[in-house]
Amino acid sequence: MLCERCKEREASVHFTKIINNEKTELNLCEECAREYQEKFSFTFEPNFPIHHFLTSLFSDAIDTTRDRTLHREMICPVCNISYANFANSGKLGCSYCYENFQERLEPLLKRIHGSTQHSGKFPQRAGGKFKIKQQIRELKSQLQKLVAEEKFEKAAEVRDKVKELEAKLKE
């Protein structure tokens, strides 16, 4: 399919807009899509509520083709490695890749390990807050168990302890 705007390049991005219950589709090439998107958001910039509404509509209406294009281009700005590069080699480029590729790594970790929450050791020197947060996590799961077992008195104790630790975290 050719791009509906320039009618030169292959259309690879597909927008679906729903305005007044009417569905319109727009098929654009990569380049026109970028321009279109910029212009679109610029036009509505001063008018905050409408703009806000429309951008959220935008991000939701972009279909999976667009999604795939985005992922292919995902690049860690710290080490310059792309997600595709990682997918090929199995190796991330730097420790910041974990945050930069987070949305794709989460499901991957879940698949590999069955979990995405570390519950082990943390560095001692950097660790004051980690330690408290870990304690809170442990207490909370204990709390759930106690409630399920209807041991409310004990549960209240644990809940108070959680509150105490949470206050300490905010200090």
Binding site: V78, C79, I81, S89, G90, K91, L92, G93, C94, S95, Y98, E99, L105, L108, L109, I112, H113, G114, S115, T116, Q117, H118, S119, G120, K121, F122, P123, Q124, R125, A126, F130, K133
Partner: protein, 352 residues
């Protein structure tokens, strides 16, 4: 000139001490760690290499660390030739991947119970290896060393994901705890596949140490934790340890049953193995691994009394190709020369 720390068999895990050495050869814990402000090893340039090495040199020289772990020795991989690196692999002190590298280095404690691979897949792979079933002790050692290193190093750590590693399969604790087991009883009674399949259902990973296929050479198996995020180090180690203890029991029962049912045949098999080891002129490494497995079984069952278990441990390393070639001082040995040398070295060790 031969390098002493390469050739020595006075490596802690080879001294055959520790509990349950009749079934468990060794226990190893490995922690993967990275520094926050360097790219992962495969993206490091020479300047990064130097930064990492400098940082580590000062770290391992810190007074507090030396006081608690004893002195640690840093060797750059480029100071070692390929044969020397392969011997370190044969002694389970570095990985085959690391032996293939020429940048990075390796850090040893005097008895080699501690080894740290520098710039393997991660900046640091802290490893502690002890003889017998001492997985908790290995973990405690690695853990203490990790704390001491962290006093001077800024680790890459994420609140949610834990210790960050180059490959997401190691993220979280960064820990791989593994136990090397000798399971001739389960192999002889054809139960080994059943037992090992059950392990995968509790999240453990099994592989043969030498050879491929269902019957690994020498009846040696390595069992380790499969995942690294979601459970604490203590949980993983405790779980592994309790599973290993069950396998130990099963192996002992299998040996006893088999021995009682096939007394003469088993004794014959073991004494023949001993006879061949003591007299052969040529010995390839597959045959040697099989025969020393029988020898060990003989020692454990009390069929062979005059030979110490430590002999088996020494043989396990001394029959390996790189070790043979290096200690003979000959370059480019052919297969026949190697088999001749292997037969000689086995005789020599058995005579001790």
């Amino acid at each position: 000139m031969l390098k002493d720390f390469v050739t020595t068999l006075n490596t802690k895990w080879l001294d055959a001490s520790g509990p349950h050495t009749d079934v468990v050869i060794s226990s190893r814990v490995r922690l993967a760690r990275n520094l926050k402000d360097l790219p992962f090893p495969h993206l490091m340039n020479e300047e990064h290499d130097n930064q990492l090495i400098e940082k580590l040199r000062t770290t391992i020289d810190s007074q507090n660390l030396v006081k608690k772990t004893g002195p640690l020795e840093f060797t750059l991989l480029k100071e070692l030739n390929s044969l020397e690196k392969r011997i370190l692999v044969e002694k389970h002190l570095i990985s085959p991947e690391h032996a293939g590298s020429s940048s990075g280095g390796v850090i040893f404690s005097k008895d080699q119970s501690i080894s740290i691979m520098v710039k393997e897949e991660d900046h640091l792979r802290i490893q502690c290896i002890l003889p017998g079933l001492q997985i908790t002790d290995s973990y405690n050692m690695a853990n203490t060393l990790d704390d001491l290193l962290e006093e001077n190093l800024d680790y890459a750590f994420h609140e949610r994901y834990g210790y960050l590693t180059a490959c997401p399969t190691n993220v979280g604790t960064g820990m791989r705890a593994s136990v090397m087991m000798h399971l001739p009883g389960l192999v002889l009674t054809k139960q080994v596949n059943k037992v090992l399949t059950a392990l995968s259902q509790v999240g453990l990973v099994v592989r043969g140490i030498y050879g491929e296929g269902t019957e690994p050479l020498g009846n040696l198996f390595q069992i380790s934790n499969g995942t690294t995020i979601g459970r604490s180090e203590e949980e993983v180690v405790t779980n592994l340890s309790s599973v290993i203890k069950q396998i130990i029991d099963q192996e002992r029962v299998a040996r006893e049953r088999f021995y009682n049912g096939n007394k003469l045949h088993l004794e014959d098999k073991i004494m023949r193995a001993k006879g061949i080891l003591e007299n052969a002129k040529l010995m390839d490494s597959d045959e040697a691994l099989k025969l020393i497995s029988a020898l060990k079984l003989g020692i454990d069952l009390g069929i062979i009394e005059a030979i110490n278990l430590k002999v088996y441990y020494n043989l396990l390393v001394a029959i390996q190709p790189a070790y043979l070639q290096y200690t003979s001082g000959q370059r480019g040995m052919g297969p026949e020369e190697r088999d001749k040398k292997r037969a000689e070295i086995i005789k020599e060790i058995l005579r001790k």
